[in-house]
Amino acid sequence: MKARRKVVTSPDVRPVKPKRTPTVRPIKSAIVPVDRSRVRPSAGRSAPPAPTLAEREALDRIDLSVELAPRRGLRLPNPIMVASGTFGYGVEYGEVVDVQRLGAICCKGTTLRPRAGNPPPRVTETPGGMLNSIGLQNPGVDAVIEKYGPIWQGWRVPVIVNVAGESIEDYVEVARRLDGVPGVAGIELNISCPNVGKGGLQFAIDRDAAKAVTAAVRRATDLPLLVKLSPNVADVRPIARAIEEAGADAISAINTLSGLAVSADRSRAFLGNTYGGLSGPAVKPVALRVVYEVAQTVSIPIVGIGGVTNVGDVLDFMACGAAAVQVGTSLFADPELPVRLAEELRLECHKRGLASCEPLVGTALPKRGGAPSAKGVEYRP
């Protein structure tokens, strides 16, 4: 935990403080904090040492691009995407983040008709993570296309629209309306939202339902199609296999884990919707497990999601078989994180002498040719 933010800088190098004298003289504090060691001045945003020109050229030659839909074409400039629901429609963070340097943007879950979402409060912090139950608040697919389509069209960064629905017909209709819209690079099928009554988890926990909805959307559109898995199932592998068979181009894993928080006076659940979805560093091991299992089950690309906060997490997901990762909750604390991660991944490739990040994918998976892994069944009841 302690070393997390100093990924590139060696731990003994103190960040150089700019010489700035405050205009107001510091007044001596009446109460002197005792535990100095607990305070670490924010150093995470300080840039790594500037590379030399030769190094810069070598770095620029490294090809970070990944292809998420080999048959249809969804090439990302780098494997660091932003996760649905944490980046709005890509415009909200525009003042502080250079969105064009992201690998891709997954926009907020979009439904056929406008949705008002769940009653507040909707978010709360938990140890190493947060619970949310937004409830798919969104203005509806037509409003999204009208308002953001022209903006996305002018962007270099691919925008993947996250699609949610209550029935297969809903999913199909939204996909059909998105088909051919300039600026929409792909669809991420959200069949795993734990925070809505109807159409949330029901498709992600049942193999046949997952297959049916994927196949139906596949028929409705030729856009690259990602399907987002839920960890709230006993075994994710048959579902992943069904989704692959139904024609998905890639699988993203995972959506949030269903959780609960209690109000301060213990009189009720804290969130307006009672249940919420857990995300953040706390879910990373679960996400890694799911990616690890899915990677051994399917041959389509996998997008790893869950608790990515530093380049080590990115490498972990890639080692477990993810071709790309999505950054979500960590964005809230550090909006510049995804852009920085792409640069740090480039450095990691450079350190290992790689020309692209592709060799990093799947290094932790059981070697092919050996006996298929039987691990993963025994820990379940």
Partner: protein, 285 residues
């Protein structure tokens, strides 16, 4: 809105569990307006993943000093109290929409409950600077929790109510409001939601009780400004600063909504300041 690395200049405890910290952040101090907030990143050491929103308590563009006033409620705020002058803290801001004062308003009534003082404190500065008259009504549990008058501008009237009567009026701060509602041209409030709800009830009946004519060239009979617009807020008698647990603070995650009459409103983007007419008060607990 920008990310700044703010240097802590002064940190002190002003009330039990309540701290006032000054930061040197000229970008924020120059841009912040009363009612806006900053989103502060606390240390990583205990696995905190969210920033903490704080109202801008005061901002001085000349010195580049921004202050925040907070209560220690958990690990994040606890961490902040351990920061020492010279430490740099990551802030995102200024965020949200500010209080809108009608240029014709001369007498401003500020109502604050407890830590709500942090929400309206800067408006007192701005109003005094603009030559307006300000009365702050402040409510606290007891005398020990009353915001020190030494931290307020000299030009204002400061009236205190405490729950146990240990200082000032005995009872809720909202009970003081009827004495001032005729005097005030506009009211601005921040505090616990029940307090804001009571104020909204008082504000809704004010016109009838006092027989106040509507301001405006056509006596208020012209086309109304759209609800939620700055112009509509400027004409509202009561503006409230709302609070909600928050995620991104830039309007992306839709986590910090309060229910408005026209559907969910993001505290971070449409708020934190709302005209009282915009809020669906029946939904506020």
């Amino acid at each position: 809105m920008r990310l700044v690395s703010a240097e802590l200049v002064e940190s002190r405890q002003i009330l039990p569990e309540q701290w006032l910290q000054s930061f040197h952040a000229p970008e924020l101090a120059g841009a912040a307006r009363a009612g806006q907030f900053v989103h502060v990143r606390t240390g990583d050491y205990s696995g905190l993943v969210l920033r903490r929103p704080f109202s801008v308590n005061t901002a001085d563009a000349a010195t580049g000093i921004v202050t925040v006033h907070f209560r220690t409620v958990g690990c994040g705020t606890e961490w902040m109290t351990h920061a020492r002058p010279g430490d740099r803290i990551d802030m995102l801001g200024p965020l949200g929409r500010p209080f809108e004062v009608d240029p014709r308003s001369h007498n401003l009534l500020l109502v604050a409950g407890g830590l709500g003082m942090a929400g309206v404190r800067m408006l007192a500065d701005e109003a005094v600077r603009d030559g307006r008259k300000v009365t702050i009504l402040f409510g606290a549990v007891d005398a020990a929790h009353v915001y020190p008058s030494s931290l307020l501008p000299d030009e204002i009237e400061y009236v205190v109510a405490t729950d146990d009567g240990s200082l000032g009026h005995r009872g809720f701060v909202t009970e003081l409001v009827p004495d001032y509602e005729a005097w005030a041209d506009q009211a601005f409030a921040c505090g616990p939601h029940p307090m804001l709800k009571r104020l909204a009830e008082l504000a809704a009946g004010r016109r009838e009780r006092l027989g106040v004519a509507r301001l405006g060239r056509k006596g208020g009979s012209g086309r109304a400004d759209p609800l939620g617009s700055a112009a509509a807020r400027r004409k509202a008698f009561l503006q409230v600063s709302m609070e909600q647990t928050m995620g991104c603070a830039v309007g992306a995650c839709l986590g910090c909504v309060v229910m408005g009459v026209e559907g969910p409103q993001r505290v971070c983007r449409e708020g934190p300041v709302f005209a009282s007419e915009e809020i669906a008060w029946e939904s506020i607990a």
